[in-house]
Subunit: 399 residues, 2 copies
């Protein structure tokens, strides 16, 4: 792996006890930004290593969440294993975990223990509902967090069921927030010299995304209705049908709408007494939809996209993943990158969403083989070759 310009988090040591999705996404982001992430795995490894379609025996799903990390196998059920963990934590900046609340405490690593061990340590926890409150013991899962947070209830057609997002948004948003909270704590530590706890719950993360849906509810005490792909307050807006398929158009205010209608030779709509206000247009939704679709049907999607984009009307197509990853803009933004597995094939994963000018994110470490960093990390801790061999032989550590 080429050593490029160091990332902004170069020198930040992150001990990662997380598995599956929310936590690994958090620590991958920190790794992408240059942190030294040590992923501690049980002897069987993060279960995601065995999930998804394999490429030469390696999981692309795992690659998408675990580039830029080192892997160390440690049996945390053994006293000796927890002892090694404590030695790692004594010298680390950040611990990230996504166990159920209380698990860390049962391992003898409660808040007070950790503060005694390393007062500078920042301890980040990601969970479903938070570590206080009546649901603290409930198991969580992305789909359930989408349902309980209100995020899912507002999605879908008015006459259809509430609809989840297929992407695991509650896991990933919680992971991003946790990375952000960690860095805020790192910045704060410059002044105080002390670490602190950071906690993000999946349900809370999605509640924070409800935006005007929440504020309208608070202002009116009315539950918003599902409006499918139409905008709840503005029309025309949504999907329209061209000769070869649909395009999405967001006429977010009158000025843009005027340009849109002009391009369709429907400029008269704006001054026609039947349609000359947004509320009239909302009421005449189906009529206008037909009128617009009739015009759109005369040309292809590419025709309308070129004309409308040039006119400053936000529009696009609903791309499937084949189209997304072939899109020249997505390529220009390097939103597909190659990452190699340590001792394995190179696979494609989504690229870095944060673009830094001076120290851009890059792949500075491969996707680690299970335990691929164990020996090096133990040696960095100051253990002798004999001690390391002993830990491996007693299966406290694995490589």
């Amino acid at each position: 792996m080429a050593e490029a310009a160091k990332g902004p988090l170069d020198g930040l040591r992150v001990i990662d006890l997380t598995r599956v999705l929310s936590g690994p996404f958090c620590t991958m982001i920190l790794g992408d930004l240059g942190a030294d992430v040590i992923k501690i795995e049980p002897p069987k490894g993060d279960p995601v290593r065995a999930q998804g379609t394999m490429t030469e025996g390696h999981s692309g799903y795992f690659a998408g969440f675990n580039r830029n990390k080192r892997s160390m196998v440690l049996d945390l059920y053994s006293d000796e294993g927890r002892d090694v963990l404590r030695r790692l934590l004594a010298d680390a900046d950040v611990l990230v975990e996504n166990f159920r609340p209380g698990t860390l405490q049962k391992m003898g690593l409660g808040e007070d223990d950790l503060a005694r061990l390393n007062p500078r340590l920042i301890v980040a926890s990601i969970n479903g509902y938070g570590s206080t409150g009546p649901y603290v013991d409930r198991p969580a899962f992305d789909f359930i967090a989408q349902a309980m947070s209100g995020f899912m209830g507002v999605n879908g057609d008015p006459d259809g069921p509430p609809m989840r997002a297929a992407a695991p948004v509650s896991d990933l948003v919680a992971g991003i927030y946790a990375a952000l909270g960690v860095l805020a704590a790192v910045v704060g530590r410059e002044r105080t010299g002390k670490g602190q706890t950071v906690e993000v719950a999946m349900v809370n993360g999605l509640i924070s995304l409800l935006a005007y849906l929440a504020s309208e509810y608070f202002a009116t005490n009315r539950v918003p209705e599902r409006t499918g792909n139409d905008h709840p307050l503005v029309y025309p807006y949504g999907l329209f049908t061209c000769s070869d398929g649909q395009i999405a158009v967001a006429n977010s205010h009158d000025q843009i709408l005027r340009r849109f209608l002009d391009r369709l030779d429907l400029g008269w709509v704006m001054t026609d007494p039947r349609y000359d206000s947004n509320s009239k247009r909302m009421a005449a939704r189906e009529e206008l939809r037909e009128m617009i679709n009739a015009r759109m049907a005369g040309h292809s999607r590419d025709h309308w996209l070129a004309i409308l984009n040039a006119a400053g009307v936000p529009c696009g197509i609903v791309q499937d993943l084949h189209q997304v990853f072939a899109d020249p803009q997505v390529k220009a933004q390097q939103m597909v990158i190659d990452v190699p597995f340590q001792d394995g094939p190179t696979v494609k994963v989504p690229g870095f969403p944060i673009k830094l000018g001076a120290t851009p994110c890059h792949v500075h470490r491969p996707v680690p083989r299970l335990g691929g960093g164990t020996r090096t990390i133990l040696a960095e801790l100051g253990l002798s070759e004999e001690e390391i061999a002993g830990l491996l032989q007693r299966q406290v550590a694995g490589d």
Copy 2:
């Protein structure tokens, strides 16, 4: 406003040129974490001030994105206004903008100008498609970013249309990523002494959330089908119908599924040769759905939620916003908070998703009146009362 324990970003000065959603969300998060955010508004103000249902003449929608900021009115079309901005930037840590790419340059604030003015300045930009590539001039909007990123194409029922998320996820995810990128750059600056640019595009943010949908596409070259509320790979999983409505159940692996079926007295399913593997259960989806719904129908949602949660099966209801904000867990997590407007009413907004142990997020500044901080900020810049009066009189600044 009570001065509680300072947030971790106390002392960080953020100049905020953003409007509407993505940018204001980014800077609000920085403000929630203790930064001093100066929101520069044109004389007419951020358009969101006039949007959504008003409470005593104030927009709750605006409150949800602009607590913990000060507002300053500055006419950036005037030389004098841009001059004041330059003086602010000379002493600031962060500039955040969400104009279309190139706008800052036209204002004489290109990357080089800013680096000369203040080499420590971190300049964060949020836009639709990124500042390079063929779509750089296209207008963007949340709905369009959902469509173009692939996020929307994977949502929805197999026989229905692709379905957007109602919450403006592309705006908000970009805003969170931008805040994260800013803090990474702040941490990096400790070592280098230099700021850098940070850019996040809405489309890129959503691509980064495609998770296993993307990795499966890369591994198989097959576009994932829409599966509605069912899991694409696992069954039983999804919504099931109790006597008084549906519950969501996430049987993410066999161990959990066994507990689920046991509680329904359907434990035999796991060993019946018709259903004894996940692929057989996927094939017998509709048969199993009926069987499970028949059991569920015998009891209420509360009955099943209590039993299944106790058994460690992730489950919940699809809450509407009324249920969400009345939920005892959501209340215990303080995910609804009161924020006052400067010289206005107090309204409810979603709470803080990042919970810090030592320096928790809190409302340290009200939602600012348009220009409510102008005089103070100009005085802090060292301008005399006469100079301030002159700027106000010439309508370069407003209060």
